[in-house]
């Protein structure tokens, strides 16, 4: 169905049911749409009808939230089969998942939960990514998480951990710039240092979103990855800094809660397009 071999280096938006009809009637200039794979795992009905129609006009990015790649248990074979069916049906330009876990024993927690970074977890995540790429027959992108706490057991830095996974499995990386900012605030890290050390040649997509803010027990800043507001200025600045290293990259604005009118999302996409346009003339170093 889709004839798009890869995501364009343009601004994309998360596809929300509230906006199906408006998108189809106005066909806005958006680089691509991203869907959460699990929302399209019903057998049929309006979600598939709309998605099929939208896929006629736009490249699709398939973004999984429930595979539990960072989990200690084996991957869910049924879930992999469901993903494979979606990929065969919609031929998305990209498939991505998270460095996180969400299923323990048989319970699914519906959140992206953190894992310690050790030689043991590195081996296991690599084995999981190998299996995903083998079963789905496609190269995947793995996304850096946002985290609120640290593990005493961790012995490997997150950027090194991701770089080694990419090195060993051949997977690409999805750099979520909002997650970098959230984790940097939460763990008193320098977000630009994270970007500077990140293996930019492996980046297949960038995510942007809005975060919320609270205080922890000691009254220190606690940033929360909420996806319920516009991209904050500090994250946008970090995005432009990132583009300076990467050149134009497919960039998604995520807004999953308190979803606004489509015009508001389109405004966010236009901000991203403007940032991409500013760096395009100097973007020779990216193939």
């Amino acid at each position: 169905m889709s004839t798009h071999p890869e995501l364009p280096p343009a601004a994309g938006l998360g596809l929300k049911p509230e906006h199906y009809a408006e998108i189809l009637s106005t066909l806005p200039a958006i680089g691509f749409f991203e869907i959460h794979a699990e929302n399209y795992m019903g057998d049929g009905g309006p979600p598939h009808r709309y998605l099929s129609a939208i896929a006629e006009h736009y490249p699709l990015s398939l973004h999984g939230v429930g595979l539990s790649i960072g989990g200690s248990g084996p991957l869910d074979a049924d879930h992999l089969a469901r993903l494979k069916r979606l990929i065969e049906r919609y031929r998305p330009a990209s498939f991505s998942e998270h460095l996180a876990w969400s299923t323990h024993e048989s319970a699914y927690f519906n959140d992206l939960l953190p894992l310690p970074y050790t030689a043991e977890t590195l081996d296991r995540v690599c084995a999981h990514v190998d299996r995903v790429q083998h079963e789905l027959g496609t190269r995947m992108l793995l996304e850096n998480p946002s985290t609120y706490l640290l593990f005493e057991e961790s012995t490997i830095d997150e950027v090194d951990f991701l770089a080694q996974i990419s090195e060993r499995t051949g997977c690409g990386l999805l750099l979520d710039v909002n997650n970098v900012m959230v984790s940097a605030i939460n763990h008193r890290l320098d977000p630009r240092d994270y970007i500077n050390r990140f293996p930019v040649e492996k980046i297949g997509e960038i995510h942007l979103a809005g975060y919320d803010e609270a205080k922890d027990e000691a009254g220190e800043r606690l940033a929360i990855d909420a996806h319920a507001s516009a991209v904050r200025p500090d994250v946008f600045e970090l995005y432009e800094f990132t583009l300076g290293r990467t050149g134009p990259v497919p960039t998604l604005v995520e807004w999953d809660n308190d979803v606004p009118a489509f015009a508001t999302l389109k405004g966010e996409a236009e901000r991203v397009e403007a940032a991409l346009a500013r760096i395009r003339p100097a973007a020779r170093r990216v193939a």
């Binding site: 323990h104 310690p116 220190e220």
Partner: protein, 259 residues
């Protein structure tokens, strides 16, 4: 500690808000932090309550936001999803509502939640062309009694001692008009095209539709309905079912209509 053991501790502490921050977790200042861990716990519970709120919009309107969220939180505490496909989450929420003492006063609530569950099932059911009325009504009259039908994947019948169809319909609009709740209703849920339909059946049609959805032959289903109500009109009822897209094809059973 192995990573598996750490994951198990996190899972246990997410399930039980009374538990302390799991051992092995720390923060940039070198101490575990209850409020930081609470973000994970909160994400899990709030997102699952939200999934139920989306799946049961009328139930939620009937009891109010605060009551619904308290009831959903109680359900989430006991029942975690067993699959990342949240479309299927809350399948036994109506049974939970039936056994939830604070909701006991609203006798119709569990069946109304069952109707919402059937609606959601129909919304996500597989695509299938509804059986064309002409294919049935064009047959020779002596063939008709032996015909039975395969239900469309979206079709479900929800029966209740309460007026769940009328209550549900009244809550599809902004301003809810008063509904007489004490009357028994059976609601047929179908999806002939893209849109899900919820139709309150005439009382006389209930045994007929129930039999047909059990794949009883048309003659047998009509006979049962007629014995319950001599005024029953099988032709009208059948045309109505076909127009609602209740079936997807004729299934002619080899053993014949008398079985």
């Amino acid at each position: 500690m192995s990573a598996t053991a750490i994951e198990g501790r996190l899972a246990a502490a997410i399930r039980d808000p009374a538990m302390p921050v799991p051992e092995g977790l720390t923060s940039a200042r070198g101490a575990p932090d209850r409020l930081r861990f609470a973000v994970y716990r909160n994400n899990v519970h709030v997102s699952l309550v939200e999934a139920l709120a989306k799946a049961f919009p009328v139930t939620r309107r009937l009891v109010g936001e605060e009551f619904f969220r308290a009831m959903a939180r109680a359900y989430v505490a006991l029942h975690k999803p067993t699959s990342p496909v949240l479309i299927a989450y809350g399948r036994n929420f109506p049974d939970f509502v039936a056994d939830f003492p604070p909701a006991a006063r609203l006798a119709y609530l569990p069946d109304l939640a069952r109707l919402e569950r059937a609606w959601l099932h129909a919304y996500h059911a597989a695509e299938a062309a509804p059986l064309d009325a002409g294919e049935v009504l064009g047959r020779a009259p002596d063939e008709l009694p032996g015909l039975s039908f395969l239900a469309h994947p979206a079709t479900a019948l929800v029966r209740s001692d309460h007026a769940i169809g009328s209550i549900w319909a009244a809550h599809q609009v902004e301003t809810v008009k008063p509904v007489e709740t004490g009357r028994a209703e059976a609601v047929l849920v179908t999806r002939p095209q893209a849109e899900v339909r919820a139709t309150v059946l005439p009382h006389a049609d209930i045994p007929f539709v129930t039999s047909l959805l059990d794949q009883a032959p048309l003659g047998e289903a009509a006979w049962q309905a007629l014995s319950a109500d001599p005024g029953f009109d099988a032709g009208r009822a059948l045309r109505g079912l076909l127009a609602l897209g209740a079936f997807t094809q004729i299934s002619i059973r080899s053993e014949g209509p008398e079985s």
